[in-house]
Amino acid sequence: MLWGIDLGSRNVKIAVMREDESFSFYKFDTIGFYKKFGRMKDGQLTVDFTNLGLDREVRAINEKFAGDLSGPAYGINAPAKVVATGYGRQTVKLKGAENIVEIKAHVLGANFQTGLKDFTLLDLGGQDSKVVLVKGGRMADFQTNDKCAASTGRYLENMAAVLEIDLKELSRHRLDPVELTATCAIFGETELIGKIVEGYSISSLAAGVNYSIFKRLKPMLSKLLSQALVFTGGVAYNLAIREILKEELGVKVLVPDYPEFNGAIGCCIFGCRNV
């Protein structure tokens, strides 16, 4: 049994891969994960794998994604091999795991999930935006957000909270967007509040939030665009952003079955190929 762990800024994602290439997926809140299961020892993060309680967690996940994920996870104890990646890779080194470069994990995951070898990968996570040009299955060039996280999931969460709607509702709107121009995500909230006062509909406001994500990504995407755009990360669940990407870029947009677990899947794929 092979475990791929993506230590993200918002969530820790675990993909468990069986020998027949079937998967089970688990998701933990990052802070809760570290508090409950992690402990620093000699500068490395030691995770109590046996007490993760994946049997219990899987139920909660399945409920959240309405049966989207394969399961149930039976007989999971300590993993035979762990490959880890993610933002936490730099700050926290997972003990007993092979740690791989985040962008590599995402490229491997996208390649496995879509079967494509030539594509542009757009991964929008909790605090990261990554655009990677992949040619012949290999990373050819990449760009990431640097100083600012205003094009990521965390921004969407904050804006949805201001609008008092959930992420699912936010993702329904793309028509007639209000124009949001603030560079800073926090000032963006103030700007949005101003628009609420001006009387714009929730639909227009939500569309404006979704469109502002695209505007921030546009320079990165236009530099590394190819015929197929593979869209991953938690933000890929946002239907409006998928549509905006299709319309604005005029390319095929593919969202794999498990966009949020793409990095964790990539870790498993790396693990299989490097046994």
Binding site: Y87, R89, Q90, T91, V101, E102, I103, K104, R138, M139, A140, D141, F142, T144, D146, K147
Partner: protein, 325 residues
């Protein structure tokens, strides 16, 4: 020996000919015990947050060093923020001597600038040439060190950076610095060649974070070319003094710099280029020209405050090295 602060490399021979001691304020700032504090102090004085940290660090360095009463400020060819830097320092009673590198590398304009500098320090051409002769002996050794970096692989990227960057002011004491270089060369000759598989070029201003070179080497990549730092050693130090500073690429246009960069990429067998740009610097715009002109993979890094590499930058460096492998 009176001290004079310099905001970047200037014809330092003039200063030594006059018996003054030049202090490269960038080096003093970054090598100080707490560079971040110097940046904060400039912000307390009223410098905006969204201005390059080097300028702020230089401002506080001059304010703190009571021996620096005179400043040579490069007003063209380096950084336009220097204009306000020198004005804010003038306000505190510092005597400022402006120096401008002409954008088009015009010989007569550059000669005039050098002559004005000579006049300010009261020296003649003969004294300047004599000073150059002494400095060239040190430069020659540092150029040897550079060659040992890329040709015989005996020198690390950091040492290559450090010794070359010191050639802007020779640490204020060319004799002592010369001795230090000699000792280093001797030690390096006795070490085994380095084995890193990936050979990198570093272009742009020197980094504000000091652990980049070591981080790369831990991951099997070594910087074998430091563009700007190498220029500080005047690699084309030919007969005519004005010509020496015309051939010095850093203060002139990007296309002139690129010709030098392309030549060195070829000569040093480089696999990839790291283009470093300081946050809020106009040189960040030039990145698009560099990416278009260079045919090998370019990683653009942006540094803001003096510290070690942040997690995001490390992630990007890792991905870049993975791509080159």
């Amino acid at each position: 020996m009176p001290k004079v602060g310099i905001t970047t490399t200037i014809p330092v021979e003039v200063v030594y000919a006059a018996g003054w001691q030049p202090v490269d304020l960038n080096n003093s700032f970054i090598a100080s015990s707490n560079p971040r504090l110097l940046v904060e102090e400039a912000e307390m004085a009223g410098y905006p947050r969204n201005i390059c940290a080097w300028i702020k660090g230089i401002y506080s360095t001059v304010r703190k060093d009571e021996q620096i009463k005179t400043l040579i400020a490069v007003t063209q060819g380096d950084c336009s923020n220097t204009h306000a830097l020198m004005e804010t320092l003038q306000l505190t009673g510092i005597n400022v001597i402006p120096f401008a590198y002409p954008y088009d590398r015009d010989y007569d304009m550059l000669k005039l600038q050098i002559e004005k500098l000579m006049e300010a320090f009261g020296v003649n051409w003969q004294q300047v040439y004599e000073a150059r002769q002494k400095l060239n002996k040190v430069r020659e050794k540092v150029r040897k060190l550079d060659e040992m970096t890329w040709r015989s692989n005996l020198v690390s990227g950091w040492d290559n950076h450090f010794y070359q960057v010191c050639c802007s002011d020779f640490n204020g004491n060319p004799e002592e610095f010369n001795k230090r270089v000699e000792d280093f060369l001797k030690g390096s000759n006795e070490t085994a060649p380095k084995q890193e598989k990936i050979r990198l070029g570093y272009i742009g201003v020197p980094p504000i974070c000091d652990d980049l070179y070591a981080y790369l080497e831990e991951r099997g990549a070594r910087v074998v070319y430091n563009e700007t730092q190498r220029q500080f050693t005047m690699p084309d130090s030919v007969g005519d003094f004005v010509e020496q500073y015309r051939k010095y690429t850093y203060p002139y246009g990007i296309f002139y710099r690129l010709a030098d960069i392309e030549r060195e990429i070829e000569r040093r067998n480089i696999d990839g280029i790291i283009h470093y740009a300081q946050s809020f610097c106009f040189r960040q715009i030039e990145d698009l020209i560099i990416r278009e002109r260079l045919s090998l993979p370019v990683l653009t890094l942006e540094g803001d405050m003096p510290n070690s590499l942040d997690a995001r930058t490390r992630m990007r460096v890792d991905a870049y090295l993975e791509m080159l492998r």
